[in-house]
């Protein structure tokens, strides 16, 4: 005899339950559930993530050396500018080390390893560790992104290369000011640069600084990347350049959150 099936009643019951959960979720009532699930799953996620990070020692050491040389180049350009003493002071104090929080990377969002680039990363620090939405995330003096959303012990970092990212930036050599916009897949575009300003390939781009009164936003002089191509059209109002970040975001295992 055929067993009677109750597809429709079960579906309706589940649908009501889900809508109830969505309703409760909007008021943040189920925060404990989210936190518990994250606490159980993310340690395994961290393990999986660490297994996928490719550790090629030669490439890694060359990348570190390259990043270090570019840092020195930025320092040199800054020293050549006027008011050298004041600049020097900023270089040694930005960002302040007592505001930095070292954090483990536990996951990547919207990415397939070695095929596509992550749009965001998940870190093992949240509200309980003093991380707030809008905090800047760095590695050494290189900008990684900003905190997009945060739970009790975890947070999502929106990378500077993500399409939602946009902040003022400046080239270190020619002091050309523009807006650095994430272009996805690990690329950044320096847009809205006046045609009269000089953009050069291999020039280093740093943050211009857009912190508000509460300290949220990017501090100045953080490395964004280097220019790999310039798109200059005489009939356009602005010129733009393609920037490649100096650090491989998809291989990060530890980052630093700049707390306010």
């Amino acid at each position: 005899m055929k067993e009677k099936q109750y597809f429709l009643p079960v579906f309706v019951l589940c649908l009501v339950f889900v809508f109830f959960i969505v309703f409760l979720g909007r008021f943040g009532v189920l925060g404990f559930f989210t936190n518990s699930v994250q606490n159980v799953f993310f340690p395994f996620g961290q393990l999986l993530h660490s297994q996928t990070v490719i550790s090629s020692s030669t490439v890694e050491s060359l990348q570190k050396e390259n990043a270090s040389l570019r840092t020195q180049l930025v320092d040199m350009h800054a020293l050549q500018a006027d008011n050298a003493a004041l600049r020097d002071q900023f270089e040694t104090s930005v960002p302040l080390t007592n505001t930095l929080l070292p954090v483990q990377v536990v996951g990547m969002g919207n990415a397939i390893p070695n095929i596509s680039f992550p749009e965001n990363i998940i870190i093992h620090a949240g509200k309980k560790e003093g991380v707030q939405s809008g905090n800047v995330v760095i590695v050494k003096n290189e900008v990684v992104g900003t905190i997009a959303s945060v739970s009790d012990h975890y947070a999502v970092v929106q990378l500077v290369s993500s399409r939602q990212s946009s902040f003022p930036a400046i080239t270190s050599a020619s002091q050309a000011i523009g807006v650095a916009k994430g272009n996805g897949n690990g690329d950044i575009i320096l847009d809205n640069v006046l045609l009269s300003q000089d953009l050069k390939v291999q020039d280093t781009v740093v943050t211009k600084g857009n912190q508000d009164i509460q300290g949220k936003g990017f501090p100045p002089d953080l490395l964004v990347g280097k220019i790999v191509s310039v798109d200059k059209n005489p009939s356009s109002l602005f010129q733009k350049a393609r920037i490649v970040p100096l650090i491989p975001f998809d291989q990060l295992t530890m980052v630093f959150v700049v707390r306010n």
Binding site: K2, Q5, Y6, F7, V10, F11, C14, L15, F17, V18, F19, I21, V22, L24, G25, R26, L30, F33, T34, V37, Q38, F41, F42, F44, G45, Q46, L48, H49, T52, V106, G107, M108, G109, N110, A111, I112, P113, I115, S116, E119, I122, S149, S151, Y154, V156, R163, G184, N185
Partner: protein, 144 residues
């Protein structure tokens, strides 16, 4: 034993999707579970998996659960009209559902994810089909 393997695969899919891959592995796993088992409790599994994924991907709680529930609901709705136990139905439904899921929940990479889903669903639905382990429709359980 097979059910335990299904649930382990589902948990693994949730973990991978939340941390490493943007491919909708959980959705494909739930579709596979639904096509192969065709029981009411798949709804509950879909909701539970959706809630877990919501928590781990920092999405509003319930949105993935709602999507999975509707996907499972559609499979059960069309099981009388289509050969839902056939390999092609599983692959095509996975592709269509994953396409909608990627458009709704992620920005990119669409093509790479769709290729992965096509390969994965062909493997999941194709292997049992070739080994003939799918439940077959017989006159005894065929619903008119």
């Amino acid at each position: 034993m097979i059910l335990a393997l299904y649930f382990f695969s589902l948990l693994l899919a949730i973990g991978l999707e939340a941390t490493i891959f943007s491919v909708p592995l959980t959705l494909v796993s739930i579709i596979a579970l639904c096509v192969m088992q065709r029981k009411e409790w798949v709804y509950i599994v879909a909701v539970a998996a959706g809630l877990l994924l919501d928590s781990l991907t920092f999405r509003p709680l319930g949105v993935n659960a709602l999507f999975f529930l509707i996907a499972v609901g559609l499979i059960f709705l069309y099981q009388k009209k289509f050969e839902t136990h056939h390999m092609l139905f599983g692959v095509l439904f996975s592709l269509v559902a994953s396409g909608i899921y990627l458009v709704l929940f992620t920005n990119e990479p669409f093509v790479a994810s769709m290729c992965s889903v096509a390969g994965l669903s062909s493997l999941i639905f194709g292997l049992p089909f070739f080994f003939q382990s799918f439940p077959k429709k017989t006159p005894a359980n065929f619903i008119l």
